[in-house]
């Protein structure tokens, strides 16, 4: 496969960004939207072609004779050489030095991500053409800027997923962070948007610190940043994952297996490296306790939330763990941490989502919870074994499930967010209290939103059902406790999503204020909703087991409706039941206006408060950052600098001055005094010298 197309996939959004960023203000606003959207459309087509080629062309570059999918480095150029290559006398490279390369790695997950990103991004571009206008169809101020940022984000996200090495990933990781910052703060005159963007950037920056240190440790021990080398470890009892020279694989394996590798606080350094890298993922994917930025990030325009904070960027953490999965698999304690963090976050976010008023916040917490599902799914993945119920668990089932869920979740969550955007655009408020009973006014939005809710709740045959079911199956395969836990969370998910649905579209009749009647939005906004709803209906049937697995080895045989065939019906029934119970409870409580919710709330006031206030995490962070770091660290340091360090420097000057004044009496102006000092000086000089030398 020649590299033109991959280069274009990255270059077109970048070029669009530069074009709109630099020349945007010289073009008409609408024009910018057209340029941005069509550029994204081209990228979409190219990505589809690339992904299609990867999965279905049968090219030996991409698939081995045994049917295993391979990693293919389409191109890779040195961007920054840290340490030079070691060259022997014959001019052969003995050992590659550390270098950041920029390249294009095509394998199953990156191909899948290309599809996800470009699809969602294109939908969001299209949608924004309608959303970023007022009711008279006039583009908002900063329309060009908006599309420039969207292009920048698409570029960064695409760069992230196709990274050939961990440092390239880090680079684009930072870039998506920055574009997220810019987009959250798009309405920069709003102080809340400004502070939300700042919070998002800083929290993820903090997580990136861990990521960076993790990279440093990893690269020091393994001597490479490249994924192909890092993740090529042959694990006991398994086939080699990817075709890399045996020497490299052996080397990296030995590093991980090395019992001499130093322990730090009871864990091997490699575990620490992976945990620190995972910390980066926690930041981006808003895992507890680094989740606090995501709800605030909803200050950005809703399409942005759909693109960045639901579908693509926030799953980067999952993608990162998946990318390094073979390494994680060798340090299962790191995977345990992933599991625990994911499970706790999933429950937490689900509980909080039940008690939010702002519809975007509900969706945000739901996103957190769903990403946590993916994390848990990765965390429970182990090599093949027999589970507690006696079933044979496929190796890497959880991995596949996680990726699957990532895919389906991107679709239905984007759908939900875009639907929410349509509602907000129509109503002009984020709160469901201002909505209620909208089903008659906005039918398209209503139906697509319902499909999204069904998908996320995991009702057969919508996309979420399949992916969630696989995740639960994987959980059962690993640990019953986590499986039950996650099943409960799944039920909770169904509950809060339908709570939201009913509160928006039912509850009571909508009160129309003035002449403004809510109505469905123009085609640019409804079309993406319909497309995404359609995808949400069918995405569950994509045979992920064939396409995306952790070692490229297909889990199931060929065939298209394999997902249905391979369901573990025990689990599926349980999860379906739980989901339906959740929906029914929600229906009971919120379909018609009734006092039940109020009663529930007053029955458990403490629980409601904690959930409503997100368990006071923001307050805790406020306390730590403002009261401790700002007031107790920064301010004292600044004070110390001005008064102690600088004061010392100044005091040299003052003391010199004082001394100067103190000795001025020496120059008394009287001759006799002068002579006296003179003689005394001579005598003292003589006496002291005598004492010293004689």
């Amino acid at each position: 496969m020649e590299s033109t197309m991959p280069v274009l996939i990255l270059a077109i959004p970048l070029f669009t960004f530069l074009l709109l960023g630099l020349l945007g203000k010289f073009m008409q606003r609408g024009m910018a939207g057209v340029i941005g959207t069509s550029a994204m459309g081209i990228t979409l087509v190219l990505s589809y072609i690339t992904a299609f080629t990867y999965f279905f062309s049968g090219n030996p570059l991409f698939i081995s004779a045994g049917g295993d999918r391979l990693q293919a480095v389409i191109f890779n150029t040195v961007w920054l050489q840290f340490t030079p290559d070691q060259i022997d006398a014959a001019g052969q490279i003995v050992k590659h030095g550390l270098a950041i390369k920029l390249g294009f790695l095509l394998d199953s997950i990156s191909a899948m991500m290309l599809v996800v990103i470009t699809t969602i991004s294109f939908m969001v571009h299209l949608y924004s053409n309608g959303y970023m206008r007022d009711h008279h169809g006039v583009c908002e101020k900063g329309f060009q800027r908006f599309f420039a940022y969207l292009s920048l984000f698409s570029f960064s996200m695409l760069g992230l997923v196709v990274a050939t090495n961990i440092f390239q990933m880090y680079i684009f990781w930072e870039l998506v962070g920055a574009s997220s910052y810019l987009l959250i703060g798009f309405y920069y005159t709003k102080p809340s948007a400004v502070s939300a963007s700042k919070k998002a950037f800083i929290v993820t920056r903090f997580a990136d610190l861990g990521f960076l240190i993790g990279i440093l440790i990893l690269s020091y021990y393994t001597g490479t940043f490249n994924f192909t080398e890092l993740t090529s470890v042959p694990v006991e009892g398994l086939n080699d994952v990817y075709a890399v020279s045996a020497g490299t694989a052996e080397h990296i394996r030995s590093i991980f297996a090395d019992s001499k590798a130093p322990l730090f606080m009871g864990a091997s350094v490699m575990t620490w490296a992976l945990v620190l890298i995972f910390m980066g993922g926690m930041g981006k994917s808003a895992m507890m306790p680094l989740h606090i930025w995501l709800p605030d990030a909803m200050e950005g325009p809703t399409p942005v939330s759909a693109l960045i904070h639901a579908a693509t960027m926030v799953v980067a953490g999952v993608y990162l763990v998946a990318r390094l999965f073979p390494l994680f698999l060798m340090q299962t304690s790191a995977l345990d941490i992933v599991t625990v963090v994911g499970a706790v976050t999933a429950l937490y976010a689900a509980m909080v989502a039940c008690a939010q008023i702002d519809i975007k916040r509900v969706l945000a917490f739901s996103t957190i919870s769903q990403i946590a599902f993916m994390m848990v799914s990765l965390g429970v993945t182990r090599i093949a074994h027999t589970d507690a119920l006696g079933h044979e668990v496929h190796e890497g089932l959880g991995y596949m499930a996680s990726m699957f869920h990532l895919f389906t979740h991107a679709m239905f969550k984007a759908l939900l967010f875009l639907g929410a955007g349509a509602l907000i655009h129509a109503i002009g408020s984020n709160d469901y209290t201002a909505m209620h009973g909208l089903r008659k006014y906005m039918p398209v939005t209503h139906w697509t939103f319902l499909i999204g809710c069904l998908a996320i709740a995991g009702i057969i045959p919508f996309a979420g059902f399949f992916s969630k079911d696989e995740i639960l199956t994987a959980c059962f395969g690993h640990s019953t406790v986590w499986a039950i836990w996650m099943t409960l969370v799944a039920g909770l998910t169904a509950f809060y999503m339908f709570r939201l649905y009913f509160l928006i579209f039912w509850w009571k009749e909508h009160k129309v204020h003035g002449e403004h009647v809510p109505h469905d939005q123009p085609w640019t906004m409804t079309l993406p909703l319909i497309i995404l709803a359609a995808i949400s209906c069918v995405a569950g049937f994509v045979p992920f087991g064939n396409l995306v697995t952790w070692n490229g080895h297909p889990i199931t045989g060929a065939g298209f409706f394999t997902n249905l065939d391979n369901l573990n019906w025990n689990v599926a029934v349980i999860s379906l039941c739980v989901a339906i119970i959740g929906i029914l409870v929600a229906m009971k409580m919120y379909r018609k206006e009734n006092p039940l919710p109020e009663k529930m709330r007053s029955a458990l006031p403490r629980l409601w408060d904690w959930c409503h206030h997100r368990f006071y995490w923001d307050e805790l962070y406020m306390f730590i950052t403002h009261k401790i770091i700002f007031d107790r660290v920064c301010k004292p340091i600044a004070w110390f600098d001005r008064h102690v360090i600088d004061g010392t420097m100044d005091s040299f000057a003052t003391m010199t001055n004082r001394l100067s004044v103190a000795i001025k009496g020496l120059q008394s102006g009287r001759i006799q005094n002068y002579v006296w000092v003179y003689l005394l000086g001579a005598l003292v000089l003589a006496v002291v010298t005598m004492l010293c030398v004689l």
Partner: protein
């Protein structure tokens, strides 16, 4: 011989000290000038005595003394002239009076 030399040196030392004391304590500039002469003369005595008792073979000390006396005379003349000048401007020869410039 040592003793004899000391007989001259000790008065010379006393002269020097008197000169210093006088310089430091007297208020009248003329008195200060006289004290200075005392000091210079004690130096002269020293030279002569050292020459006479320690190095009788040469005359260096003697000659030095002669020149020193001449120089002292010049100094005195100049000093008197300047003191007169000062007297003209402050109508006084009190050394305390001429301490306007200080610190």
């Amino acid at each position: 011989m040592e003793k004899t030399m000391l007989c001259y040196l000790i008065p010379s030392l006393i002269m020097f000290c008197c000169g210093v004391y006088g310089f430091i304590t007297r208020k009248n500039m003329i008195a200060i000038l006289i004290s200075l002469e005392l000091m210079l003369n004690s130096v002269d005595i020293n030279f002569v005595v050292f020459n006479r008792f320690l190095f009788p073979g040469s005359m260096e000390g003697m000659f030095f003394t002669l020149f020193a006396i001449a120089i002292a005379a010049a100094e005195t003349a100049l000093a008197i002239a300047i003191i007169i000048n000062v007297f003209r401007s402050v109508k006084n020869v009190d050394v305390e009076e001429v301490s306007k410039m200080k610190f």
